[in-house]
Amino acid sequence: MRMAGPAADDDPLLSVSDLRTHIETDRGTVRAVDGVSFAVERGEAVCLVGESGSGKSVTCESLTGIVPQPPAEIVDGDVSFDGIDLRADDTDLRAIRGNRIGHVFQNPQHALDPVYSVGEQLIEAITAHGDVGERAARERAVDLLRRVGIPRAGVRIDDYPHEFSGGMAQRVAIAIALAGDPDLLIADEPTTAVDVTVQARLIELLRDLLGDGMALLLITHDLRVVASLADRVLVLFGGQIVERGPVGEVFERPGHPYTQALFDSYDGFEQLEDRPARGDLPTDGCRFRPECPHAVSACETGVQPPFYAVDGAPDHAASCVYYTEGRDETTVLDGNGGVRPTGEVTEDD
Amino acid sequence: MESSERPRFERVDWSEIDTEQRLVTTQRALFVAGLLVLAGLFVYDYYYAHVYLVAEWNVTPIDWAVLTGLVGLVSYGVVPALRNRAAVRRTYESIRSRPVLTAALAFLAVFGLLGTLLPTLLGRPELHFGYAYQPPVGVTVDAGWSPNCFGTIVQGQGIQRYCEGSILIPLGTNGRGQLMEAMLVAGARPAIYVVLFTAAFIVPLATAVGVAAGFRGGRLDDLLMTYVDVQLCIPAIFLYFIGYMYVGPSLLLLLVTFGLLSWGPVARLVRSEVLQRREDGYVVVARSLGGSDAYVARRHVLPNVTNTLVPAVFHLFAILILAEAGVAFLGFSDVELYSWGSTIAEGLSPDRMAAYQVWWISTVPAVALAATVVALKLAGDGLRDVLDPRGGR
């Protein structure tokens, strides 16, 4: 295995640096992930929050290379897992994927093959990454089902996916992801397709697994799920991280205007002032500026506004010009690229 | 009507609008008118004209059936197309951009037109017993096979004389001196009849059954699908032979027997698609708006199932054409139809010759048959691509 550097216990488990993934579409190349950097520590729960099109799913699929390439292409960036460079060698990647990194997706009925029993699929996952005898594999499969809370696991192991309810099927999918005893579980909207009472139990299961020392990278659009699970939050917009921080701080004082807009939408409802144009976000500077009430001309420059500490907290940062000292406060960008004097815009805070 | 004001939905006075389904639509009117014309022609033929209706056309039951089908196809197929010219133009452009498809459709169109018009206008291929077994252009045969040689006679060794094929008879003649080109075109007619009959009667029947079974479900579904299962077990040719004992060789009989027993798979397909799409949002909305099953199927379900339906229908055409050719080959079809199948059979056991000597008699129609089947399959696949909603608008 090619090592990216000496691995120490206090090094992050997963380290992502300047990841870029482009996707070819009818309308040209979309920069789905445009310079994303973050880290996940051992045993930590990190939530990636964003709306559709923010790049959150593509980011996580790019980490283990499961994003379909073509039409996508990971054009740049470093991904390092426990010191191993995942972008270097396909063999290294395949040894890790499904083994030390597990994946769970949104719809369990899609993730499970309807023509094989749950046991067969579990055993397949177990034997894929280890030389295990049939009997031992089956025992481990039953253990895994127990671990995720399936009642009467010994009997249910021979049932087919359609014989499980949505919540139970998702547990089975989690069991399959756990087959290789992973250090990191990447879960993409695992509770979106289930009822709220079922979601609560799945959240408890994930907490349980976290308690065992597993790390979790959870993608969601639901701030409540973030509140219930995350240690740290990463907010994505337009393929970039716009805010990062410990969950308590981000929730108490959301720094980036997009994050603020997200929280506001939980309180009431109002028409969006500048409805996002059909799919066309700017490809430089701050991507949120067409919809941002605080946009200034400085928002157009660079690849992305630099990160500034929110309220002095060093681990809570927002990529927003608003926090720059000495910013030009006399003019403001309106949604169409024109410039208006500040007097016409009210800024709270 | 509002004059200078913009029409707004809340100003519509719904009590004024008659929501009764219109009885007289353009399609229905045309269909009924067409049927009346046909009925008139039938009466005329039966009582007055007797043998020949127009020029050399001796109208038989199969002709009436196909004409009826044609009336249906035109009124329910062509009229809506004329209404939606923009979509038709787009489809046309899309077809043009696919050379293979264009070629296949052109081939079918040419043979279709020729096969319909020429035998009708010119009657059966003329007999010229004096010019039997003439070779195609470029081929030389023993001049002794036939009393005359249309092409040039070439002297060989001793008293051996050869007859060369002439460009004027490019495909040669058969054992009765009938031009192979004429036989080719004449043989296209049963093939066209197969396609028209299938398109006009069998495909709509199968679709209607599939839609009814898919939407209504319950006992109707069980009944229909059980019938389809039974249908698949009965060999059509067997049924044809039984009918043949009573009515003799008849293309109509063939189409009815084979047709009645071949619509099952298409019905199943349609039913399966209907079941899948029944719960799609726009279908549910259309039903909630009060659309009848037929309306919802026609407008919302069927246009979205072309991916599976179109290739299946064209496959059905191909299969039935082959079936007709097969039956004709066995000798159980009407000789006057000059089906390719019977010509092939003729070529394989010619009068006083060995088959390989007059190979063109069986080869020419065989090639035509194969080409037609290939063209149909290519057309089916090509049209599927053209109509595919994701195929690049």
């Binding site: 127990r146 309810s165 949505g166 009431g268 109002e270 969006l272 | 029409p7 939905f9 009764e20 979205n304």
Partner: protein
């Protein structure tokens, strides 16, 4: 006369929303039942029924938003479909504007179909991918008899502008629009025949948070400007809280609680409502408590539990009368009793006879030394049976010594906080320690 385009001018149209009822309800449902037969064999012999909607009575008044909340299996979608005529109810009556819907024929029936419109959940399959959206939005007009194509086109263009899209959009195809825009198109299509009632089936579930907010705002504006009632089906409490005036909570085909949104969500009277609300994670990261119902298994709608349907999952289920049990002890025993009853054994207990009694007692945290000997012996028997893997015997013994009125009798309707609720706890006739509900 040219009017400004866009929705702005309509904001001032009808002013404030009035909550007070204006006379008779627009839609009145009484004891509605929609059952599906389960058949066996070729003759389709009925062997059971799925009781999707099982005795629902609810009213929707003019100009109000009624939320219908429930999880899968609650019957909320079947209820909506029954109202629209997409499913045939098997019993009960639906009255729209005073007329019995089931008895309408001809023109009156078509008028009803026009006045009640549907907005489906998934914007991605709400439109026929083959048709231009202008044609799709005009379809209700065409189906209701408006033959003049130009008139239809003009109305559609007008409606599109008023929901925030452009007149030009009529020539586009559905895939050219974003999810939020498609939902706007769906609202336009529903509006175009000037309905009185909109049935919105999860109108925002497939949308991102900010787009949700946008669409809810549009729906609210539509409601105010055109005096349309909205029946909003949702599994999302946040949507109901922000958007609806009143809410009805459904469980297994019945409405268990109804009332003004603030009252129901702040002071839930029925234990299921409370369970539902407790299951929604808090937005406060420091509050991660997620109280669980007694069991997770949702009962089969074809075979609902006896008595109160919620009793197998109810954290407030009432214990045996005159039993010498503390609340705490009963809670744990109830967990044992009903978990065993529905067969939802915890993972550690396999039910195949390999578990020890100690493990069973530990897993359920069973109290030792109960005052009531009969109950104690019954529990001991059940624990032994569980350890042996004899689920049936365990069920029997527990059912015998731990009966509950909640499984024996259907609760009577009682008024709490001015709202009707069916719960034995609320019923003054029953001697069960009342519990404080306030969140």
């Amino acid at each position: 006369m040219t009017e400004p385009t866009g929705g702005d001018h309509d904001r001032s149209a009808l002013g404030e929303r009035t909550v007070d009822r204006r006379g008779d309800p627009l839609l009145s449902v009484t004891d509605l039942e929609t059952h599906y037969p389960i058949t066996e064999g070729w003759l389709r012999r009925e062997v059971g029924r799925v009781r999707a909607v099982d005795g629902v009575s609810v009213d929707v008044y003019e100009g109000e938003t009624l939320g219908l909340v429930g999880e899968s299996g609650s019957g909320k979608t079947t209820l909506a479909h029954s109202l629209l005529g997409l499913e045939a109810p098997t019993a009960g009556t639906i009255r729209f504007d005073g007329d019995r819907v089931g008895e309408l024929t001809g023109a009156a029936k078509r008028a009803f179909r026009r006045r009640v419109q549907l907005i489906v959940q998934d914007p991605n399959d709400a439109f026929n991918p083959r048709l231009q959206v202008g044609t799709a939005v005009a379809e209700p007009l065409a189906l209701n008899g408006m033959d003049d194509a130009e008139r239809r086109q003009a109305i559609v263009e007008d409606v599109l502008e008023r929901v925030g899209l452009a007149a030009d959009d009529t020539g586009r195809y559905p895939h050219e629009f974003s999810d939020g825009e498609k939902q706007r198109l769906a609202i336009a299509r529903a509006l175009v025949v000037d309905p009185d009632l909109l049935v919105a089936d999860e109108p925002t579930s497939a949308l991102d948070a900010r787009v949700q907010s946008d669409i809810l705002a549009l729906l609210d504006e539509v409601r105010r400007a055109f005096d349309v009632s909205i029946l909003c089906i949702s599994h999302d409490i946040d949507v109901v809280r922000r958007f609806c005036d009143r809410v009805a909570v459904m469980y297994l085909g019945e409405i268990v609680e109804r009332g003004p949104v603030d009252a129901v969500l702040e002071r839930p009277a029925h234990p299921y409502t409370k369970v539902l609300l407790d299951s929604v994670p808090s937005l406060d990261p420091s509050d991660r408590d997620l109280p669980a119902p007694l069991t997770d298994t949702i009962p089969d709608p074809a075979d609902p539990p006896s008595g109160c349907r919620f009793h197998t999952r109810c954290p407030a289920v009432i214990g045996p009368e005159d039993a010498d049990l503390s609340t705490d002890q009963w809670e744990r025993l109830a967990a044992l009793r009903f978990t065993v009853q529905v067969g939802e054994l915890p993972a550690r207990i396999d039910g195949d006879g390999t578990t020890s009694e100690t493990v069973v007692r530990e897993t359920f945290d069973l109290p030792d030394d109960l005052a009531d000997e009969r109950i104690e012996s019954g529990v001991d028997d059940a624990v032994a049976a569980l350890a042996d893997g004899d689920l049936d015997r365990a069920r029997e013994r527990l059912a015998a010594v731990l009966p509950s009125v909640c499984e024996q009798q259907v609760p009577a309707t009682v008024e709490i906080d001015g709202r009707p609720v069916q719960c034995h706890r609320a019923d003054p006739e029953f001697d069960a320690a009342p519990r404080p509900w306030n969140r």
